[in-house]
Protein backbone atom coordinates (compact mmCIF):
# COMPACT_ATOMS: atom_id res chain seq x y z
CA UNK A 1 0.00 0.00 0.00
CA UNK A 2 1.49 3.31 -1.02
CA UNK A 3 0.43 6.95 -0.78
CA UNK A 4 2.32 9.76 -2.44
CA UNK A 5 1.38 13.42 -1.87
CA UNK A 6 -2.18 12.29 -1.26
CA UNK A 7 -4.68 15.13 -0.88
CA UNK A 8 -8.29 14.71 0.24
CA UNK A 9 -10.75 17.53 0.74
CA UNK A 10 -13.66 17.64 3.16
CA UNK A 11 -15.60 20.43 1.52
CA UNK A 12 -12.81 22.94 0.86
CA UNK A 13 -10.76 21.86 3.86
CA UNK A 14 -7.72 19.70 3.03
CA UNK A 15 -8.18 16.90 5.56
CA UNK A 16 -5.16 15.21 3.98
CA UNK A 17 -2.65 17.72 2.70
CA UNK A 18 -0.06 15.75 0.80
CA UNK A 19 0.50 12.56 2.74
CA UNK A 20 3.24 10.05 1.93
CA UNK A 21 2.88 6.61 3.47
CA UNK A 22 4.03 3.07 2.79
CA UNK A 23 2.48 0.07 4.50
CA UNK A 24 3.89 -3.38 4.09
CA UNK A 25 2.04 -6.66 3.80
CA UNK A 26 1.08 -8.27 7.13
CA UNK A 27 2.18 -5.20 9.03
CA UNK A 28 0.37 -3.73 12.01
CA UNK A 29 0.59 0.05 11.69
CA UNK A 30 -0.49 2.53 14.35
CA UNK A 31 -1.66 5.94 13.19
CA UNK A 32 -1.42 8.43 16.04
CA UNK A 33 -1.97 12.15 16.18
CA UNK A 34 -4.27 14.79 17.64
CA UNK A 35 -7.97 15.21 16.92
CA UNK A 36 -8.59 16.54 13.44
CA UNK A 37 -5.16 15.49 12.20
CA UNK A 38 -6.61 13.45 9.33
CA UNK A 39 -6.38 9.88 10.68
CA UNK A 40 -10.03 9.05 9.97
CA UNK A 41 -9.86 10.65 6.53
CA UNK A 42 -6.75 8.61 5.77
CA UNK A 43 -8.56 5.39 6.70
CA UNK A 44 -11.60 6.42 4.66
CA UNK A 45 -9.34 7.18 1.71
CA UNK A 46 -7.79 3.72 1.95
CA UNK A 47 -11.30 2.21 2.07
CA UNK A 48 -12.26 4.18 -1.04
CA UNK A 49 -14.93 6.12 0.84
CA UNK A 50 -13.47 9.54 0.05
CA UNK A 51 -12.13 10.76 -3.24
CA UNK A 52 -8.43 11.32 -3.82
CA UNK A 53 -8.12 14.91 -5.08
CA UNK A 54 -4.47 14.74 -6.08
CA UNK A 55 -1.42 12.61 -5.56
CA UNK A 56 -1.24 8.83 -5.78
CA UNK A 57 -2.81 6.11 -3.70
CA UNK A 58 -2.43 2.40 -4.33
CA UNK A 59 -4.19 -0.07 -2.03
CA UNK A 60 -4.10 -3.85 -2.49
CA UNK A 61 -2.76 -3.27 -5.98
CA UNK A 62 -5.59 -0.93 -6.96
CA UNK A 63 -4.99 2.67 -8.05
CA UNK A 64 -7.61 4.62 -6.09
CA UNK A 65 -7.45 7.55 -8.48
CA UNK A 66 -8.98 5.26 -11.11
CA UNK A 67 -10.95 2.73 -9.12
CA UNK A 68 -12.28 3.14 -5.57
CA UNK A 69 -14.44 0.02 -5.58
CA UNK A 70 -12.73 -3.16 -6.64
CA UNK A 71 -10.55 -3.59 -3.53
CA UNK A 72 -13.42 -3.19 -1.07
CA UNK A 73 -14.37 -6.84 -0.85
CA UNK A 74 -10.84 -7.51 0.40
CA UNK A 75 -10.92 -5.04 3.26
CA UNK A 76 -12.62 -4.72 6.63
CA UNK A 77 -13.47 -1.29 7.98
CA UNK A 78 -14.35 -0.51 11.58
CA UNK A 79 -15.25 3.17 11.78
CA UNK A 80 -17.06 5.31 14.34
CA UNK A 81 -20.45 4.00 13.14
CA UNK A 82 -21.54 0.39 13.02
CA UNK A 83 -22.63 0.61 9.33
CA UNK A 84 -25.66 -1.47 10.39
CA UNK A 85 -29.44 -1.20 10.41
CA UNK A 86 -31.35 -0.45 13.61
CA UNK A 87 -34.29 -2.74 12.87
CA UNK A 88 -32.25 -5.81 11.94
CA UNK A 89 -30.81 -8.17 14.50
CA UNK A 90 -27.09 -8.65 15.06
CA UNK A 91 -27.18 -11.89 13.05
CA UNK A 92 -29.19 -10.36 10.20
CA UNK A 93 -26.85 -7.37 9.94
CA UNK A 94 -23.84 -9.61 9.91
CA UNK A 95 -25.33 -12.02 7.38
CA UNK A 96 -26.14 -9.13 5.08
CA UNK A 97 -22.52 -7.99 5.30
CA UNK A 98 -21.09 -11.47 4.71
CA UNK A 99 -23.45 -12.42 1.89
CA UNK A 100 -22.90 -9.12 0.09
CA UNK A 101 -19.16 -9.86 0.24
CA UNK A 102 -19.77 -13.31 -1.19
CA UNK A 103 -19.09 -15.17 2.08
CA UNK A 104 -21.39 -17.73 3.67
CA UNK A 105 -23.78 -17.45 6.61
CA UNK A 106 -21.52 -19.84 8.52
CA UNK A 107 -18.79 -17.20 8.38
CA UNK A 108 -21.13 -14.73 10.04
CA UNK A 109 -21.85 -17.16 12.88
CA UNK A 110 -18.14 -17.86 13.38
CA UNK A 111 -17.36 -14.17 13.63
CA UNK A 112 -20.23 -13.64 16.07
CA UNK A 113 -18.64 -16.14 18.41
CA UNK A 114 -15.22 -14.63 17.93
CA UNK A 115 -16.33 -11.15 19.04
CA UNK A 116 -18.46 -12.52 21.88
CA UNK A 117 -21.86 -11.53 20.53
CA UNK A 118 -23.40 -14.99 20.18
CA UNK A 119 -25.84 -14.33 23.05
CA UNK A 120 -26.99 -11.10 21.37
CA UNK A 121 -27.33 -12.71 17.93
CA UNK A 122 -31.10 -12.25 17.82
CA UNK A 123 -31.15 -8.84 19.47
CA UNK A 124 -32.03 -5.83 17.29
CA UNK A 125 -29.16 -3.42 16.64
CA UNK A 126 -31.11 -0.58 18.27
CA UNK A 127 -31.14 -2.48 21.58
CA UNK A 128 -27.37 -2.96 21.77
CA UNK A 129 -25.18 -1.06 24.20
CA UNK A 130 -22.40 1.17 22.88
CA UNK A 131 -19.80 -1.51 23.61
CA UNK A 132 -21.85 -4.21 21.89
CA UNK A 133 -22.19 -1.91 18.88
CA UNK A 134 -18.38 -1.69 18.75
CA UNK A 135 -18.15 -5.48 18.83
CA UNK A 136 -20.69 -5.71 16.01
CA UNK A 137 -18.74 -3.15 14.03
CA UNK A 138 -15.61 -5.27 14.45
CA UNK A 139 -17.57 -8.38 13.49
CA UNK A 140 -18.72 -6.73 10.26
CA UNK A 141 -15.13 -5.77 9.48
CA UNK A 142 -13.89 -9.32 10.13
CA UNK A 143 -16.76 -11.06 8.39
CA UNK A 144 -15.20 -10.83 4.95
CA UNK A 145 -11.82 -12.35 5.94
CA UNK A 146 -10.06 -9.14 4.89
CA UNK A 147 -6.57 -8.74 3.48
CA UNK A 148 -6.54 -5.23 4.94
CA UNK A 149 -8.18 -4.33 8.24
CA UNK A 150 -8.79 -0.63 8.91
CA UNK A 151 -9.66 0.17 12.53
CA UNK A 152 -10.63 3.67 13.66
CA UNK A 153 -10.45 4.11 17.45
CA UNK A 154 -11.36 0.44 17.87
CA UNK A 155 -10.91 0.30 21.67
CA UNK A 156 -13.34 3.16 22.36
CA UNK A 157 -16.35 1.97 24.33
CA UNK A 158 -15.16 -1.61 24.82
CA UNK A 159 -15.04 -3.24 28.25
CA UNK A 160 -11.80 -4.91 29.46
CA UNK A 161 -12.82 -8.27 27.98
CA UNK A 162 -13.65 -6.63 24.69
CA UNK A 163 -10.32 -4.80 24.64
CA UNK A 164 -8.46 -8.05 25.21
CA UNK A 165 -10.46 -9.72 22.45
CA UNK A 166 -9.64 -6.83 20.11
CA UNK A 167 -5.96 -7.00 21.02
CA UNK A 168 -6.00 -10.69 20.10
CA UNK A 169 -7.67 -9.93 16.78
CA UNK A 170 -5.01 -7.34 15.96
CA UNK A 171 -2.05 -9.43 17.05
CA UNK A 172 -3.27 -12.58 15.26
CA UNK A 173 -4.17 -10.81 12.01
CA UNK A 174 -0.69 -10.82 10.39
CA UNK A 175 -0.35 -14.57 10.79
CA UNK A 176 -3.63 -14.91 8.86
CA UNK A 177 -2.17 -12.74 6.08
CA UNK A 178 -3.96 -9.55 7.06
CA UNK A 179 -2.43 -6.09 7.17
CA UNK A 180 -3.82 -3.94 9.97
CA UNK A 181 -3.92 -0.14 10.22
CA UNK A 182 -5.16 1.22 13.55
CA UNK A 183 -5.93 4.89 14.16
CA UNK A 184 -6.00 5.36 17.89
CA UNK A 185 -5.45 7.73 20.78
CA UNK A 186 -4.76 4.72 23.00
CA UNK A 187 -1.23 4.75 21.74
CA UNK A 188 0.41 2.92 24.64
CA UNK A 189 -1.91 -0.03 24.22
CA UNK A 190 -1.67 -0.25 20.43
CA UNK A 191 2.10 0.30 20.37
CA UNK A 192 2.52 -3.01 22.11
CA UNK A 193 0.74 -4.66 19.18
CA UNK A 194 2.11 -2.56 16.31
CA UNK A 195 5.15 -3.05 14.13
CA UNK A 196 5.35 0.64 13.36
CA UNK A 197 3.83 3.97 14.30
CA UNK A 198 3.21 6.93 12.05
CA UNK A 199 2.14 10.22 13.52
CA UNK A 200 -0.36 12.25 11.50
CA UNK A 201 -0.38 16.00 12.06
CA UNK A 202 -2.16 18.63 9.99
CA UNK A 203 -3.12 16.14 7.31
CA UNK A 204 0.44 14.88 6.80
CA UNK A 205 2.34 11.82 7.95
CA UNK A 206 4.83 13.65 10.11
CA UNK A 207 7.03 10.98 11.51
CA UNK A 208 7.48 7.25 11.23
CA UNK A 209 8.94 5.03 13.91
CA UNK A 210 10.41 2.51 11.54
CA UNK A 211 11.22 -0.29 13.90
CA UNK A 212 8.89 -2.05 16.26
CA UNK A 213 9.21 0.04 19.45
CA UNK A 214 10.32 -1.79 22.54
CA UNK A 215 8.66 -1.04 25.87
CA UNK A 216 11.70 0.98 27.03
CA UNK A 217 12.01 3.08 23.92
CA UNK A 218 8.32 3.45 23.20
CA UNK A 219 7.39 6.97 22.12
CA UNK A 220 5.26 8.99 24.47
CA UNK A 221 1.48 9.25 24.15
CA UNK A 222 2.07 12.49 22.27
CA UNK A 223 3.52 10.62 19.35
CA UNK A 224 7.23 9.93 19.62
CA UNK A 225 10.53 10.34 21.41
Amino acid sequence: MRLRAAVCLLGRFPALAGTDLDVHEREVLLLSGPNGAGKTTLLRLLAGLVRLRSGKAEVLGVDLARDRRSHRRRLGFMGHDTLCYDDLTVRENLRFATRSAGATAATADDVLTRVGLEEQADVAHQRLSAGQCRRLSLAVALSRSPDLLLLDEPHAGLDPAGRSMLDSVISEAPSAGTTVIVASHETERVRSLADREVRIVGGRAERAVLERPSVDSAPSAEGGP
Partner: protein, 224 residues
Protein backbone atom coordinates in the same frame (compact mmCIF):
# COMPACT_ATOMS: atom_id res chain seq x y z
CA UNK B 1 -22.78 -13.63 -6.77
CA UNK B 2 -25.24 -13.19 -9.64
CA UNK B 3 -27.07 -9.94 -10.27
CA UNK B 4 -30.40 -11.51 -9.32
CA UNK B 5 -29.06 -12.74 -5.97
CA UNK B 6 -27.56 -9.34 -5.18
CA UNK B 7 -30.83 -7.60 -6.11
CA UNK B 8 -32.78 -9.95 -3.87
CA UNK B 9 -30.27 -9.51 -1.04
CA UNK B 10 -30.75 -5.72 -1.05
CA UNK B 11 -34.52 -5.88 -1.59
CA UNK B 12 -34.89 -8.50 1.15
CA UNK B 13 -32.89 -6.36 3.55
CA UNK B 14 -34.99 -3.25 2.83
CA UNK B 15 -38.28 -5.14 3.09
CA UNK B 16 -37.19 -6.75 6.34
CA UNK B 17 -36.28 -3.34 7.77
CA UNK B 18 -39.73 -2.04 6.75
CA UNK B 19 -41.50 -5.10 8.12
CA UNK B 20 -39.82 -4.50 11.51
CA UNK B 21 -40.17 -0.73 11.67
CA UNK B 22 -43.68 -0.74 10.15
CA UNK B 23 -43.21 2.83 8.93
CA UNK B 24 -45.02 2.04 5.68
CA UNK B 25 -47.90 0.40 7.52
CA UNK B 26 -48.21 2.89 10.36
CA UNK B 27 -47.31 6.14 8.65
CA UNK B 28 -47.16 6.02 4.84
CA UNK B 29 -50.41 4.10 4.37
CA UNK B 30 -52.43 6.26 6.78
CA UNK B 31 -50.96 9.33 5.10
CA UNK B 32 -52.20 8.15 1.69
CA UNK B 33 -55.61 7.36 3.17
CA UNK B 34 -55.82 10.80 4.79
CA UNK B 35 -55.01 12.45 1.45
CA UNK B 36 -57.85 10.49 -0.19
CA UNK B 37 -60.24 11.42 2.60
CA UNK B 38 -59.31 15.09 2.38
CA UNK B 39 -60.11 15.06 -1.32
CA UNK B 40 -63.42 13.39 -0.49
CA UNK B 41 -64.25 16.09 2.07
CA UNK B 42 -63.24 18.86 -0.31
CA UNK B 43 -65.41 17.53 -3.15
CA UNK B 44 -68.18 16.02 -1.04
CA UNK B 45 -71.00 18.23 -2.36
CA UNK B 46 -70.63 16.60 -5.75
CA UNK B 47 -70.14 12.83 -5.50
CA UNK B 48 -70.40 12.53 -9.26
CA UNK B 49 -67.35 14.72 -9.67
CA UNK B 50 -65.49 12.70 -7.05
CA UNK B 51 -66.08 9.50 -8.97
CA UNK B 52 -65.04 11.19 -12.20
CA UNK B 53 -61.72 12.49 -10.90
CA UNK B 54 -60.99 9.42 -8.75
CA UNK B 55 -58.06 8.16 -10.92
CA UNK B 56 -56.24 11.50 -10.68
CA UNK B 57 -56.83 11.79 -6.93
CA UNK B 58 -55.67 8.20 -6.45
CA UNK B 59 -52.37 8.82 -8.23
CA UNK B 60 -51.78 12.12 -6.43
CA UNK B 61 -52.18 10.23 -3.16
CA UNK B 62 -49.84 7.47 -4.37
CA UNK B 63 -47.20 9.99 -5.49
CA UNK B 64 -47.24 11.85 -2.18
CA UNK B 65 -46.96 8.55 -0.31
CA UNK B 66 -44.15 7.49 -2.65
CA UNK B 67 -42.16 10.56 -1.63
CA UNK B 68 -42.36 9.36 1.97
CA UNK B 69 -41.39 5.81 1.02
CA UNK B 70 -38.35 7.01 -0.96
CA UNK B 71 -37.24 9.36 1.81
CA UNK B 72 -37.60 6.54 4.31
CA UNK B 73 -35.59 4.16 2.14
CA UNK B 74 -32.59 6.49 2.22
CA UNK B 75 -33.08 7.75 5.79
CA UNK B 76 -32.46 4.16 6.86
CA UNK B 77 -29.17 4.21 4.98
CA UNK B 78 -28.12 7.46 6.63
CA UNK B 79 -28.41 6.03 10.17
CA UNK B 80 -25.23 4.58 11.68
CA UNK B 81 -23.35 5.09 8.42
CA UNK B 82 -25.20 2.20 6.77
CA UNK B 83 -24.71 3.80 3.36
CA UNK B 84 -20.94 3.41 3.90
CA UNK B 85 -21.60 -0.24 4.66
CA UNK B 86 -23.52 -0.51 1.42
CA UNK B 87 -20.62 1.05 -0.50
CA UNK B 88 -18.06 -1.15 1.24
CA UNK B 89 -20.17 -4.25 0.66
CA UNK B 90 -18.76 -4.70 -2.81
CA UNK B 91 -22.27 -5.03 -4.24
CA UNK B 92 -22.62 -3.70 -7.75
CA UNK B 93 -24.29 -0.29 -7.95
CA UNK B 94 -26.85 -1.65 -10.42
CA UNK B 95 -27.79 -4.40 -7.95
CA UNK B 96 -28.27 -1.91 -5.12
CA UNK B 97 -30.39 0.29 -7.40
CA UNK B 98 -32.58 -2.56 -8.59
CA UNK B 99 -32.90 -3.99 -5.08
CA UNK B 100 -33.97 -0.71 -3.55
CA UNK B 101 -36.31 -0.05 -6.49
CA UNK B 102 -37.88 -3.48 -6.03
CA UNK B 103 -38.40 -2.92 -2.29
CA UNK B 104 -40.01 0.49 -2.84
CA UNK B 105 -42.17 -0.91 -5.67
CA UNK B 106 -43.44 -3.75 -3.47
CA UNK B 107 -44.38 -1.30 -0.74
CA UNK B 108 -46.10 1.01 -3.22
CA UNK B 109 -48.06 -1.84 -4.81
CA UNK B 110 -49.39 -2.87 -1.41
CA UNK B 111 -50.21 0.75 -0.69
CA UNK B 112 -52.01 1.08 -4.04
CA UNK B 113 -54.04 -2.03 -3.34
CA UNK B 114 -55.32 -0.60 -0.06
CA UNK B 115 -55.84 2.90 -1.45
CA UNK B 116 -57.58 1.40 -4.48
CA UNK B 117 -60.08 -0.32 -2.20
CA UNK B 118 -60.46 3.03 -0.43
CA UNK B 119 -61.25 4.76 -3.73
CA UNK B 120 -63.89 2.18 -4.60
CA UNK B 121 -65.49 2.52 -1.18
CA UNK B 122 -65.18 6.25 -0.50
CA UNK B 123 -65.52 7.56 -4.05
CA UNK B 124 -68.24 5.13 -5.16
CA UNK B 125 -66.18 4.04 -8.15
CA UNK B 126 -66.97 1.01 -10.32
CA UNK B 127 -64.07 -1.08 -11.67
CA UNK B 128 -64.68 -2.55 -15.13
CA UNK B 129 -61.32 -3.63 -16.50
CA UNK B 130 -59.09 -5.01 -13.75
CA UNK B 131 -56.35 -6.17 -16.14
CA UNK B 132 -55.78 -2.64 -17.42
CA UNK B 133 -55.62 -1.29 -13.89
CA UNK B 134 -53.11 -3.95 -12.84
CA UNK B 135 -50.86 -3.47 -15.88
CA UNK B 136 -50.95 0.32 -15.69
CA UNK B 137 -50.46 0.20 -11.92
CA UNK B 138 -47.42 -2.06 -12.12
CA UNK B 139 -45.80 -0.07 -14.95
CA UNK B 140 -46.42 3.26 -13.21
CA UNK B 141 -45.19 1.91 -9.88
CA UNK B 142 -41.94 0.61 -11.34
CA UNK B 143 -41.38 4.00 -12.99
CA UNK B 144 -42.06 5.90 -9.76
CA UNK B 145 -39.90 3.54 -7.70
CA UNK B 146 -37.00 3.69 -10.15
CA UNK B 147 -37.12 7.47 -10.39
CA UNK B 148 -37.50 7.78 -6.62
CA UNK B 149 -34.48 5.54 -6.00
CA UNK B 150 -32.39 7.55 -8.44
CA UNK B 151 -33.27 10.91 -6.92
CA UNK B 152 -33.24 9.46 -3.42
CA UNK B 153 -29.55 8.59 -3.66
CA UNK B 154 -28.84 11.96 -5.27
CA UNK B 155 -30.16 13.68 -2.15
CA UNK B 156 -29.01 11.02 0.32
CA UNK B 157 -25.91 12.82 1.53
CA UNK B 158 -27.59 16.18 1.93
CA UNK B 159 -29.10 17.56 5.12
CA UNK B 160 -31.95 18.95 3.06
CA UNK B 161 -32.93 15.59 1.57
CA UNK B 162 -36.42 15.53 3.12
CA UNK B 163 -37.38 18.68 1.22
CA UNK B 164 -35.20 18.06 -1.82
CA UNK B 165 -36.61 14.63 -2.72
CA UNK B 166 -40.17 15.86 -3.42
CA UNK B 167 -38.81 18.91 -5.22
CA UNK B 168 -36.77 16.72 -7.55
CA UNK B 169 -39.10 13.76 -7.81
CA UNK B 170 -42.57 15.20 -8.33
CA UNK B 171 -41.88 17.18 -11.54
CA UNK B 172 -40.03 14.23 -13.08
CA UNK B 173 -42.84 11.75 -12.40
CA UNK B 174 -45.58 14.12 -13.58
CA UNK B 175 -45.78 12.23 -16.91
CA UNK B 176 -46.31 9.00 -14.95
CA UNK B 177 -49.19 10.56 -13.07
CA UNK B 178 -50.70 11.77 -16.33
CA UNK B 179 -50.32 8.42 -18.09
CA UNK B 180 -51.50 6.38 -15.13
CA UNK B 181 -54.51 8.63 -14.63
CA UNK B 182 -55.55 8.31 -18.28
CA UNK B 183 -55.03 4.54 -18.24
CA UNK B 184 -57.06 4.22 -15.04
CA UNK B 185 -59.84 6.37 -16.49
CA UNK B 186 -60.06 4.03 -19.47
CA UNK B 187 -59.87 0.99 -17.19
CA UNK B 188 -62.63 2.24 -14.94
CA UNK B 189 -64.77 3.14 -17.96
CA UNK B 190 -64.26 -0.34 -19.42
CA UNK B 191 -62.53 0.88 -22.60
CA UNK B 192 -59.20 -0.99 -22.58
CA UNK B 193 -58.31 0.07 -26.13
CA UNK B 194 -57.98 3.67 -24.94
CA UNK B 195 -55.70 2.56 -22.10
CA UNK B 196 -53.03 0.68 -24.08
CA UNK B 197 -51.17 3.73 -25.47
CA UNK B 198 -50.90 5.07 -21.93
CA UNK B 199 -49.79 1.71 -20.55
CA UNK B 200 -47.11 1.60 -23.25
CA UNK B 201 -45.99 5.10 -22.30
CA UNK B 202 -45.78 4.05 -18.65
CA UNK B 203 -43.77 0.96 -19.57
CA UNK B 204 -41.42 3.09 -21.68
CA UNK B 205 -40.91 5.50 -18.80
CA UNK B 206 -40.23 2.61 -16.42
CA UNK B 207 -37.69 1.01 -18.77
CA UNK B 208 -36.03 4.39 -19.40
CA UNK B 209 -35.56 5.15 -15.70
CA UNK B 210 -34.53 1.60 -14.88
CA UNK B 211 -31.86 1.95 -17.57
CA UNK B 212 -30.69 5.35 -16.33
CA UNK B 213 -30.61 4.04 -12.77
CA UNK B 214 -28.62 0.93 -13.65
CA UNK B 215 -26.03 3.08 -15.40
CA UNK B 216 -25.87 6.04 -13.00
CA UNK B 217 -26.72 4.77 -9.52
CA UNK B 218 -23.28 3.37 -8.71
CA UNK B 219 -21.56 6.71 -9.34
CA UNK B 220 -24.24 8.61 -7.43
CA UNK B 221 -23.91 6.22 -4.50
CA UNK B 222 -20.15 6.85 -4.38
CA UNK B 223 -20.70 10.57 -3.94
CA UNK B 224 -23.72 10.32 -1.62
Amino acid sequence: MSLAREVWLVAGKDLRVEARSRVTLNQVLPFGAVVLLLFAFALDPDRGLLSEVAPGLFWVAVLLAAVLAVSRSFAVEAEHGAIDGLRLSGLDGASVFLGKTLAIAVQLLLLELVLGIGVVVFYDTAVRSVAVLVLAGVAATVGIAATGTLFGVLAAGLRTRETLVPLLLLPIVAPVMLGATRAFEAGLDGVPSEAWPWVQLLALFAVLYLGVGVLAFGSLLEDA
